[in-house]
């Protein structure tokens, strides 16, 4: 396959997200402008100007009309996807890290980093259909975990919130009361900070990637460990194929150590693993730095990766990918 290279960002990529129809790809980077691309040919559709810091993550509503972004400028912003205009700004007292729309797009979960004396927190915001009625009030604020919460997503039926972060523990919270429901087993859990978390297409399980050079698959309700994928690099990004039983892990050595070694030593490939057999299927090379973001097109026929090198690489699979046998 010949990947499409998109060089719209000046700084390392942080997050990638496809809309539900799989025709738009949203990219966030440490430069301050999230960008939207056409997912088929990689053409840039527009940029969302207004943030004043690195943008850590984004999410798009199911009908592809609204985008939410979380940024290090201590805000999360709602955008009109089509025009790139700001609809609302949620102000926080510390950098916003992760954002995720609930099923139905009526709620959003936003995590904030520990900053100065503040601890990290998970905020649940109500999203109104009409942007003029939008308020910044939190429906719920959850505090407790030590260190940064790198990712928080909604569980099934919006009844839970799953969070993971620097303390390497995955937690499931009640999204109504904020009570801690489950905590991942210390024995089977990750040993180092969790960098990424991705839900399967049906939402029945999710995958976490960690700096302990492994990725783990968990049941979304019981939080039991299903599978572990061991690799030889810290995992920065994970993605699950919606079509085949494949998982993709992206990573590479720490960005600060990149220049001291040659690019082959860094292991900057996106590694494909068989979801069930936990065996490596193959690797896709290309980035000149660690992979920070991975996303699968909802049709499962293409995926994109974003690297520390500032490139988004959009890969449309060759036909023989779909017949790969181990």
């Amino acid at each position: 396959m010949r990947p499409i290279l998109m060089k719209g960002h000046e700084r390392p990529l942080t997050f990638l997200k496809y809309n539900r129809d799989g025709d738009l790809l949203f990219s966030c980077a440490k430069d301050h402008t999230p960008t939207v691309w056409f997912a088929d040919n990689g053409e840039r559709l527009g940029t969302y100007r207004g943030h004043n810091g690195a943008v850590w993550s984004c999410d798009v509503s199911r009908d592809s009309t609204r985008l939410i972004t979380g940024s290090a400028d201590q805000t999360a912003k709602l955008w009109n996807v089509q025009t790139g205009t700001q609809l609302f700004t949620f102000n926080f007292d510390s950098p916003a890290r992760s954002v995720d729309f609930a099923i139905g797009d009526k709620l959003a979960v936003i995590t904030t980093d520990p900053f100065m004396e503040l601890t990290s927190a998970i905020h649940v915001k109500r999203i109104t259909r009409d942007a003029t009625e939008q308020t910044g009030e939190s429906v719920l604020v959850i505090k407790g975990p030590q260190g940064r919460i790198n990712r928080a997503i909604w569980g099934p039926l919006n009844s839970t919130i799953i969070s993971a972060g620097e303390d390497a523990v995955i937690r499931i919270w009640d999204s109504e009361t904020g009570k801690l429901l489950r905590e991942a087993d210390k024995e089977s859990g990750h040993k180092k900070p969790i960098t990424s978390l991705a839900k399967s297409a049906d939402g029945s399980h999710f995958l976490t990637g960690s700096l302990d050079k492994s990725a783990k698959l968990w049941d979304v309700r019981t939080l039991t460990l299903i599978k572990t994928y061991v690799t030889e690099r810290p995992v920065n990004a994970v993605a699950l194929s919606p079509l085949l039983d494949h998982v993709v892990l992206g990573g590479g050595q720490d960005a600060s150590a990149v220049t001291t070694t040659d690019h082959r030593a860094g292991k900057f490939e996106a590694k494909f693993y068989d979801k069930i057999l936990q065996e490596e299927i193959g690797g896709v090379k290309g980035h000149f730095g660690p992979i920070n973001a991975l996303a699968f097109n909802p049709d499962g026929k293409s995926f994109s990766s974003g690297g520390e090198d500032g490139y988004v690489r959009l890969h449309h699979f060759d036909p023989d990918y779909f017949n790969i046998k181990i």
Partner: protein, 297 residues
């Protein structure tokens, strides 16, 4: 939507001859023919059509047509997506000039690299002929283990007593001495060995090392990353006694750098190896085998 892309390669199977007695007139014998058969398309899209007919000489001919059916990608016809396709550009994308080239298609073909060859593990290539196998037997006399001193049983690298032997403190120099002496005595063809190269002679590091490496040295490039020294040894020993096999490794990653050197005792063997293995497919790659050129410094 499926489009039949035909690349017919009709194999004409051996016609089963009709008895001349049965051949009355050349009309309407079609009922004698087996019906047309269609096999597939299988998961690779290979479809086989087997037909039978009579040729001019009245012989029954079986025609097998193999075609590949390829599915063309169905265009997604999501109304919303189509609508979005026509959206106005906004933000920085508005001022984008045509020459900005933000989006490019990679010039490089990137493949999903399998950790090993699909299906099987990479195995050594079969010996190309009997003569080569003979040669390897002949070379067995020269196979002297440098660790235990046994002749013709195993190579040094395969020595079972390897771990017991005292570690060689200067690995590079010492084998050189034994190798050359072996070459001198073992070859037995009265090949001239310069005094400086003879066993026990005084040696001076650098130039000598290069000298050793140049002797009947064959450079092998385009090796796959999985190829290790034993693999190369396996591949080249069929041509004659080999004194040294070396695969360049990346010190940082520990992976192969894709080239190596093989030293032969006999120049003829080396030449034969070059003739035979240059362009040889090995582990999905086409080997390049040539005389090693001395380093120019």
């Amino acid at each position: 939507m499926a489009i039949d892309q035909t690349d017919p390669n009709p194999n004409q199977s051996k016609p089963s001859k009709l008895r001349w007695g049965e051949l009355e007139e050349d009309d309407d014998l079609d009922f004698l023919l087996p019906p047309k058969e269609v096999i597939g398309p299988d998961e690779n899209g290979i479809k086989k059509v087997i037909e039978y007919k009579f040729n001019e000489e009245g012989n029954k001919v079986k025609i097998t047509t193999t075609t590949r059916v390829r599915k063309l990608a169905k265009a997604r016809l999501n109304k919303r997506a189509l609508e979005r396709r026509n959206w106005e550009k906004f933000g920085d994308a508005v001022r984008e000039d045509v020459g900005s080239r933000l989006t490019m298609v990679s010039t490089e073909e990137i493949l999903l690299e399998r950790p090993r060859a699909p299906g099987t593990k990479p195995e050594e290539i079969k010996v190309a002929g009997d003569s080569l196998a003979q040669l390897s037997k002949g070379g067995a006399v020269l196979m002297v283990c440098r660790t235990c001193g046994k002749k013709g049983d195993h190579w040094t690298s395969k020595c079972p007593y390897k771990d017991l032997a005292a570690p060689v403190e200067t690995f590079v120099d010492k084998p050189a001495a034994s190798e050359t002496s072996m070459a001198a005595s073992g070859a037995g063809k009265g090949a001239y060995v310069p005094p400086s190269m003879r066993a026990g002679a005084e040696r001076t590091g650098g130039s000598d090392m290069r000298r050793r490496n140049d002797e009947n040295s064959v450079r092998v490039t385009n090796l796959s990353e999985d190829t290790r020294e034993p693999d190369l040894m396996e591949l080249f020993r069929t041509f004659g006694p080999v004194t040294r096999v070396y695969v360049a490794m990346d010190q940082k990653t520990g992976t192969s750098r894709g080239f190596g050197f093989v030293n032969f005792v006999n120049r003829e063997d080396a030449q034969r190896a070059i003739n035979k293995l240059n362009g040889y497919g090995y582990d999905n790659l086409i080997l390049r085998v040539e005389w090693a050129t001395p380093r120019s410094n």
